[in-house]
Symmetry: C2
C-alpha cells in the first residue's frame, strides 16, 4: 500500500470493501466443483461445457470462471472455438477435493457457517458475544453445541480443521525437539467434564483460544495434575504481537472467536502467564510465520 | 503473489478466504462510528473510552480496533495508560461521514445489502439470476423494485452511488473534451417508460450494466431518437478487458450484476457494438485506471 497514492484514490479501502466478493468467488467455485471437474477432465474446457456438466446457468458460470482468472485460480486461453479454462497449479493442489493438501472442507465451513455469522459482526461488537442466535437461531450460550449441532455439522467442522492442519501441522511439530516425549495425548472431546489420562506431552491444538481466561486456567490446572513429572504441554495457537501491530490474520481470527466462541487469540506473554498460573515453567515460544505458532511449557 | 512460494504454502488462497473478514471489519468500524468519534475527539482514545462512548462491549471494541490497526485504518500508541487509538489519514478522508470524499454510504449499502445477497452466490450461478428472493424475500423479477423497496433503501443506494462518484467522477468527466455540448441530460428515473427529452449529450452512468443486451439496445435507440444531430452519448461503465484477463474489480462487479440485477459488465467492443446498433458512430473509449471508464458515441 502506497499511502500517498491512497490519499488521492482509496485503492486499499476499495480492495477491503471487495474482500467478501473475492471470498465468495473462491468459495462458490469450490462448492460447485469447478476445480474438481477441470482436474478430472484433463483438458481445458469452455464455460458452456463446464456449466452443462455442473448443471449451472451459462451466464453465471462464465462470469465465475472469468473472476477466477482474475484471481489467478484459473488460466484461460482464447482459441478459435472460444475461451478455454484450466486450473492453475495452486488450484490443483489446494482447491480440489482429492488433493492431500485440499482446503475444500475449511472453505465450505467458511462459506456456509462463518460468512453468515460475520454478517452480524456489528451486533457481536455491541454485545460482546457470539452470533449463532442471529445467524442460525441457536442459543449463543453453548458455542460448541452450536458448532456440533448435527453430526454433519460436526464432521464438516472437523474436516475443516484437518484442512488447516495439512498445511500447518509440519511446522508446528518441528518447532521444538519433542523426541524425549514418548507418551503423547492430543486433547479433545469433552475435556472439562471427562478425566484426562496420564501422559508425558499434552497437545492443546486451538483449544485455549475458544475459552476465556478462567476456563483456560481451569483446563491447564487439570492437565498439569495429570501430567507426568518432566512432561509438558504444547499449545498450538496463532500468536498476536505484544505491541498490537498484528499479525492481521490473527487479529481477524480473534474477532472470529468473538463472533463464534467465548474465547480470543492471545499474545505469547498472555499464554505464558496462563501456563505459569497452572504450574508450568521453562516456557518456550516459536513463531512459524504461518497460521499457527507453538508454545511449550514443562512440569 | 509469488507462485513458487504459494505452492508450498497457499498464502494467496488464505488471503482470499479471509477477504470477507476484512470487509466486515471496515464495514463494522464505519457502522459503529469509530472513525467519526476519533475525528471529533481530536485526541487518541483508549478502547474503553471508545466502547463507552459508542455503547459497545469493551471486549468486542478492543478487537475491532486492533484489527483496524492491522489494516492500517487506525494507528495505535502504547502509553503508560494503555493503548491509545487514532485515525490514519485515509480513514479521516474516506471513512468519516462528514468528509466530502466519504465512502460511508456505499460501505453501509455493501455491508447490509450486498453482503447478504452474495451469501447466495452459488445459487445465483446455478440459476443465472439475482438473489433478492433468498436474501430479502423480495421477488427477483424486479431488481429495482427490490433495490428501491422503501424510500430509506432508495436513499441509501443513491447516497452510495454518490460516494463512488466523489472519487471517480472527475476522471470520467475529464476523459473527453465535452465542451462543445451545452445541453446535457443525465439519464435517470423510469427511462424505459418515460419519454426522454431532446439534448446534445446524454450521460448514461452505470445504467447499461444493469440490463441485458435487448434492453440496452432498446434504451440506446430511444436515446438516439431524442438526441440532436451532432450530439452524443457518454457511457460511464467499468470496462472488462477483451482478453478476459481482468480487471479483477470489474470481473467481481459483473458477478455482482448477476447477484443483484439483470445485467453484466462488458468490454469496450461490446459497448461499441450496442452503440452502433442504435446508430451512434465515431466511438471513443477511455480507460481511467479507476473504477469507472468512459465510452463516447456520436449521432
Amino acid at each position: 500500500m502506497s499511502s500517498t497514492e491512497d490519499l488521492d484514490y482509496p485503492k486499499t479501502i476499495l480492495q477491503y470493501n471487495s474482500g467478501f466478493l473475492v471470498s465468495k468467488v473462491i468459495f462458490t467455485a469450490c462448492e460447485l466443483g469447478v476445480f474438481d471437474l477441470l482436474l478430472e477432465s484433463g483438458e481445458p474446457l469452455s464455460s458452456d461445457a463446464i456449466a452443462t456438466r455442473l448443471g449451472t446457468s451459462t451466464t453465471g458460470m462464465e462470469r465465475l470462471l472469468d473472476a477466477c482468472v482474475g484471481l489467478k485460480l484459473l488460466a484461460v486461453e482464447l482459441t478459435q472455438e472460444g475461451a478455454l479454462y484450466r486450473n492453475t497449479e495452486i488450484s490443483n493442489i489446494y482447491l480440489t477435493k482429492s488433493s492431500p493438501k485440499s482446503q475444500y472442507h475449511i472453505i465450505m465451513y467458511y462459506s456456509n457457517t462463518v460468512y453468515l455469522c460475520w454478517h452480524y459482526l456489528a451486533d457481536a461488537v455491541r454485545e460482546g458475544k457470539n452470533q449463532y442466535e442471529r445467524a442460525f437461531g441457536i442459543s449463543s450460550k453453548d458455542p460448541f453445541g452450536a458448532m456440533y449441532r448435527s453430526e454433519e455439522e460436526m464432521l464438516k467442522f472437523m474436516a475443516g480443521q484437518n484442512s488447516v492442519w495439512s498445511i500447518c501441522g509440519r511446522d508446528v511439530l518441528a518447532a521444538f525437539d519433542l523426541s524425549s516425549f514418548t507418551q503423547i495425548y492430543d486433547l479433545g472431546g469433552d475435556f472439562f467434564n471427562d478425566s484426562i489420562p496420564e501422559a508425558e506431552l499434552y497437545i492443546l491444538s486451538k483449544i485455549l483460544h475458544d475459552w476465556d481466561d478462567d476456563k483456560c486456567r481451569q483446563l491447564l490446572a487439570k492437565v498439569y495434575n495429570a501430567c507426568k513429572p518432566g512432561g509438558g504441554v504444547l499449545l498450538v495457537e496463532s500468536l498476536l504481537n505484544e505491541d498490537k501491530s498484528g499479525p492481521l490474520e490473527t487479529q481477524l481470527y480473534s474477532m472470529n472467536m468473538l463472533v463464534q466462541t467465548e474465547g480470543k487469540e492471545r499474545t505469547a506473554a498472555e499464554y505464558s502467564k496462563l501456563l505459569e498460573a497452572a504450574g508450568f515453567g521453562e516456557i518456550q515460544v516459536k513463531r512459524t510465520g504461518k497460521l499457527y505458532d507453538a508454545v511449550l511449557g514443562r512440569k
